[in-house]
Amino acid sequence: MLHWFNQKFLSPKLFYTTTTRLLPWVGGAFAVCFFYGLITGLFIAPADYQQGDGFRIMYVHVPSAFVAMAIYMTMACSAFVTLVWRVKMAAICMSCSASIGAWFTFLALVTGSIWGKPMWGAWWVWDARLTSVLILFFLYIGFIALQSVITDPQSRDRAGALLAIVGVINLPIIHYSVIWWNTLHQGPTISKFASPSIAPDMLYPLMAMILAFFLFYFWILMLRMRNQIVLREIKSQWVSEVMQHG
């Protein structure tokens, strides 16, 4: 049954042909969500009573942080599948996700620091949450670095998978130790701004943006995975057929 599933749905060829049809839909859905979120978020949602218009960077910051963490989870799940069932597509999904995740983490850090400057008065504070996102960024970098030095594709996949799993086991430990560290070293000089339960006018654009970022991730992931598949299967019959017929 598993073998059958592997053959039918996780074969690179079938993935390639399915995503050819799927890509425009995902891209279109992304565009709709993104522009809806952008327009309502930036122009229609009311200004925050404390932060004024400054809070609008939230519509980029929160989704990117959210997606950055979700991508690491995706990587860990596909790493598990790679190691246990040796599914080739899972390995491709994992290694293609890494750099997208790293960029989203970077985006979250940059937008967070731009947001922090007017609100907290500093570009960077060693707040627990910021620090653990920074460490997440380092974990991504380590994964990408490991993948870049190993030449043999199969052991590259498996080594990366093992590292991703070690990372995901450690992630909660790191997260809680960082929280603990910050509360120990200094009192709450920057209390997280009191957040009254967010108004629906602000919430809907945020949801749309989160959805849009996820769709963007899927979109880019599919494109990258298709490239990777073609690269890996360059010698097979179906690739040359696909390439000739567009």
């Binding site: 190691l83 460490i135 380092f138 974990l139 970098i141 380590g142 670095a145 490991l146 030095v149 190993i150 030449t151 043999d152 199969q154 052991s155 498996r158 080594a159 093992l162 590292l163 799993i165 070690v166 990372g167 086991i169 450690n170 430990i173 790191i174 130790s177 960082v178 603990w180 560290w181 120990l184 070293h185």
Partner: protein, 221 residues
């Protein structure tokens, strides 16, 4: 029996080449001695930053030595014998990590009271320092072994191991230094020591297994 043989073999080989175990130790001492020169020789200041200095120096020294955990074995082909042997690779790897700890970390721990003395630590803080190093350095070795095993087949990786492993070291660093801070404030240390011990046991349970898996992957490159 085979396990004991491996431990004895590793320890003897390393002890007979004095520089193999002396280099990380000297590195550790020199890094610690750089800080008073770089920051300030003022006693109170030094006492305040001593936990961070000693822990970061120990961490760097272990990263340096753990790099060679499987290197020699991979070159001489001993590693292939380990992989082929009928014994559980997890246990064999555990023994190798243990003997590595004896040779490369125990000297650091033994010399740390002296460094504490140089940095004006009080006896209670020195005691906390030794305890946390005793509990923390095994974690550093165990986590580092996973990275060393992953990179065993890579020809020249230079500074890659620190990049892979450093983020995983952060909890140990945080708990190690905060135990010392608590000691400086004359607080009881039981809770801190319990958390450090939990980290040690947790990594003891998982790391040898993951290292064995990583070795199987790393050797095949």
């Amino acid at each position: 029996m085979a396990l004991l043989t491996i431990i004895r073999h590793d320890i003897l080989i390393n002890l007979r080449q004095a520089f193999s175990w002396l280099t990380p130790l000297i590195f550790f001492v020199i890094v610690v001695c750089l800080f008073p020169l770089a920051v300030s020789p003022e006693a109170n200041m030094l006492r305040q930053i001593a936990p961070g200095i000693i822990w970061v120096a120990a961490l760097l020294s272990i990263l340096l030595s753990i790099n060679h955990l499987f290197r020699e074995e991979a070159l001489t082909g001993f590693l292939d014998l380990l992989l082929l042997s009928p014994y559980s690779l997890t246990l064999l790897v555990g023994c190798k990590i243990f003997s590595h700890w004896i040779v490369h970390c125990l000297p650091l721990i033994l010399i740390s009271p002296l460094l504490g003395f140089l940095l004006n630590l009080h006896p209670y803080e020195t005691y906390a320092l030794v305890i946390t190093l005793l509990l923390g350095t095994p974690v550093l070795c165990l986590l580092g072994a996973i990275g060393a095993a992953l990179l065993v087949g890579v020809r020249s990786h230079g500074l890659l191991l620190p990049i892979l492993i450093m983020p995983l070291y952060i909890p140990v660093l945080i708990f190690g230094t905060s135990t010392l801070m608590a000691a400086a404030a004359n607080q009881p240390l039981n809770g801190y020591i319990a958390i450090m011990a939990a980290l040690t046991l947790f990594s003891l349970a998982f790391a040898p297994f993951l290292t064995a898996a990583a070795l199987r992957i790393g050797v095949n490159q």
